[in-house]
Subunit: 171 residues, 2 copies
C-alpha cells in the first residue's frame, strides 16, 4: 500500500511540495482577487486551493506519512524544532548580514511563533500519548506575524504590536 | 521593499516552501486528530496551520511575488501548465514503470484535475484583463481526486467515480 521504490518516492515528495505551494499561492491570490473586486475569481482560487489539498493529501498518504496523532505530533515537533534551532536563525542572520529588512522581519516573526508552536505541540503529545485531549477552548493567531496564544488574545501582540481585535480565533 | 540579494532570496523561497508544507501537514493531521477523538488537538493543528499561512504570505510578499489578479492568474496558468505538460506525465510514467499502484493513482488524479485548472484560470485571466469577474455561482471539488467543475456536480465523478453528495461546494 505504501510506495517503496526510491524514484517514485522522491517524485511524490516533490509533488507534495509542489501541491502545498500551489495551495498556498491560490489562497494568497484569492485574497488579492477579493480586494480587487473579483469575488468569483477569488472563489475559483479558493476552490482550486482545496483541490490541491486533495492532491497533496493523496501523495502524502501514498508515502505512508499519515500516522496516528502522537506520531503526527512528533513530526510537527521535529519540524518546529528544526526551524527554531537551525533554519530561521540562519535565514534571519543572513537577512541581517545582507541588509534585507523585509526578510529580517518575516524571518523574525516566524522564528518567534515557531518557538511557541514547538512548546504547544509538546504539551499536546504528552496528553495524546495518554489518550487525553488538550484542555483548551480557543486558539488566537496574530494575522500579521503568526504569534499563537491559547484562550485569550493580548491587548497588543508581543511580537509585532498588532491590536487584539485583529487576532483570528479558532474555537 | 522587495528582497534583492540572492542568498536571502533563496532562503525566503525555501522558507515559503517549508511553511507551505507545514501548513498542509497540519491540516491533514487535524483531520486525523478529529477522527481519533481529539477535537482540541485538531483545533490546535488548524490554528497553527493558519499561523504558517501568515509566515508563508510574509515571505512571499517580501519576495515581491504578490501582484495584481491578471498577473497572479498567469502564475497559476504557468504552474498548472508545467504540471500537465511535464511534471505529472513524468511522475505517472515513473510510477507505472516501477509498479507503484498508489502513486499511479495519486498522480493520475492530479494530472486530470490540473488540465481543468489550467483551462479555468485561462478563462478567468481573459476576463480579469478586461476588469470583468467570472460569471459562476458555485465551484464543486471532488474530495477524493480533486476533480473540479463549475455550477453543478456530476452524478458520479468522471475521474474517480465518487458520488455527487461527496463533492465539496464553494459558493
Ligand atoms: Fe494539484
Ligand atoms: Fe510553526
Ligand atoms: Fe503579531
Ligand atoms: Fe511558520
Ligand atoms: Fe491545479
Ligand atoms: Fe473524483
Amino acid at each position: 500500500m505504501v510506495v517503496e521504490r526510491k524514484m517514485t518516492k522522491k517524485f511524490l515528495e516533490d509533488a507534495y511540495a509542489g501541491e502545498s505551494q500551489a495551495h498556498m499561492r491560490y489562497l494568497i491570490f484569492a485574497d488579492v482577487a477579493e480586494k480587487e473586486g473579483f469575488p468569483n475569481i477569488a472563489k475559483l482560487f479558493r476552490a482550486i486551493a482545496f483541490a490541491e489539498l486533495v492532491h497533496a493529501k493523496n501523495h502524502y498518504q501514498a508515502l505512508g506519512n499519515i500516522k496516528d496523532t502522537p506520531s503526527n505530533l512528533q513530526v510537527a515537533i521535529d519540524g518546529e524544532t528544526f526551524e527554531v534551532e537551525e533554519m530561521y536563525p540562519v535565514y534571519k542572520a543572513t537577512a541581517e548580514l545582507q541588509g534585507e529588512k523585509e526578510a529580517v522581519r518575516s524571518t523574525h516573526y516566524a522564528l518567534e511563533a515557531e518557538k511557541i508552536h514547538a512548546e504547544l505541540y509538546r504539551e499536546a503529545k504528552e496528553l495524546a500519548e495518554q489518550k487525553k485531549d488538550l484542555e483548551i477552548k480557543k486558539v488566537y493567531i496574530c494575522p500579521v506575524c503568526g504569534y499563537t496564544v491559547i484562550d485569550e488574545a493580548p491587548e497588543y501582540c508581543p511580537v509585532c504590536g498588532a491590536s487584539r481585535e485583529k487576532f483570528v480565533v479558532f474555537e
